[in-house]
Subunit: 192 residues, 2 copies
DNA sequence: TGGCCGATGTCAGTTGCTGACATCACCATA
DNA sequence: TATGGTGATGTCAGCAACTGACATCGGCCA
């Protein structure tokens, strides 16, 4: 074989390590490539972006969520379908708590990376909304349910990586869902 | 005077025009600067970024929202406080429907700009959450209410710029709030 | 065996963005 | 009125992200 196989995963590992050591901004694509034993050009053939290398798993996550919504029982209300999807996703993260935290530290430390994270989350939200529409949910409801689910996930995930917290992500997601329900239900002066 | 004053707003106008004409990616900062009668370097003194020039108003919007939450009556529930804030913001957009739509078309046409928009919205969400905490709202509730408000705003705004829609933004926001309440309340199998 | 294909390398070029330093109208104050 | 400081701009050099075009060559299929 002319080259070592798996250059993509080597690039991912190299990038994660370097971003962790010296930070995202102080890392050069050339350095990542060198560490992975390839050329800078090869990096950009595998990842559109210097940022994208950290978000390779997003596609699989989206698939998982969409499938979970599609597979929810017909009797399940939209909010319950997305709740089930988030529960499935949570299990995936729980398996790699350490890795998730390291990665998240890198992301939250840099604005550009947070931007990229947000657009991935937005894609998840609209993926969920699509899946709900396929179940016959009408449009304003579908979009809002998707957005609400992602909001819950964001808040729960943030609490989860906060090390002072000993709760499981699954539990935190459940709590956040309940809290969202409570908060949207409570209204002192009549709404309109 | 040595230079024409208002170079910042000239840069904004030039950028908006050029982004609209030939698209964001096909526009060079040098071109914007030339059109505004300044140097490329001056552009970057006013805006950190090629993107940021489109988001100059975000600060004012954030201030408006935060003030509205702070100014809501003590009796108002969190969800009602943020609803009032969004209503105030809506009025601001209604005044410039044309401009808002033009700007939004530019943003939605480009991924980098959508990323920037999302991080601005995220900042609004956490600004709202902060304002709620200052009113004594506890933390998971505060964050979730902020996120929920932004979710409502996103969905409502998207529908508003959709020209087939004749409804007012204020009305769409109210509807979206109601829809969110309905969606979070509906749950067929007991949640847990 | 020959030829196509896919992954990589090489190289030149554009553009976003930054740091360092110069300029010069304007303003305050002696 | 002279003097010196300040703020907004210009000039210039340079790095790093990203792209397009073309070359290379091992492996696989006909």
């Amino acid at each position: 074989m002319r080259w070592e196989p798996g250059s993509r995963s080597r690039l991912q590992e190299a990038a994660l390590a370097l971003y962790g050591e010296r930070g995202f901004e102080n890392t050069t694509v050339a350095e990542i490539a060198e560490r992975a034993g390839v050329t800078e050009r090869t990096f950009f053939r595998h990842f559109t972006d210097k940022r994208e290398v950290l978000f390779w798993g997003a596609g699989a996550l989206q698939e998982l969520l969409v499938d979970a919504v599609a597979g929810a029982p017909d009797s399940a209300a939209p909010i319950d379908a997305v709740a089930a999807a988030l529960a499935a996703a949570a299990a995936l993260f729980e398996q790699r708590r350490e890795g998730s935290m390291l990665r998240q530290d890198i992301i939250t430390a840099n604005t550009e990376l947070r931007e990229r994270e947000l657009i991935k989350l937005a894609a998840l939200a609209s993926g969920l909304a699509d899946a709900l529409r396929r179940r016959g949910v009408e449009d304003p409801a579908a979009s809002l349910t998707g957005e609400a689910a992602i909001a819950v996930f964001k808040v729960a995930f943030e609490r989860w990586v906060d090390t002072t917290n000993r709760l499981t992500l699954t539990q935190l997601i459940r709590d956040s869902f309940d809290e969202l329900k409570a908060v949207t239900a409570a209204t002192s002066p009549p709404a309109h």
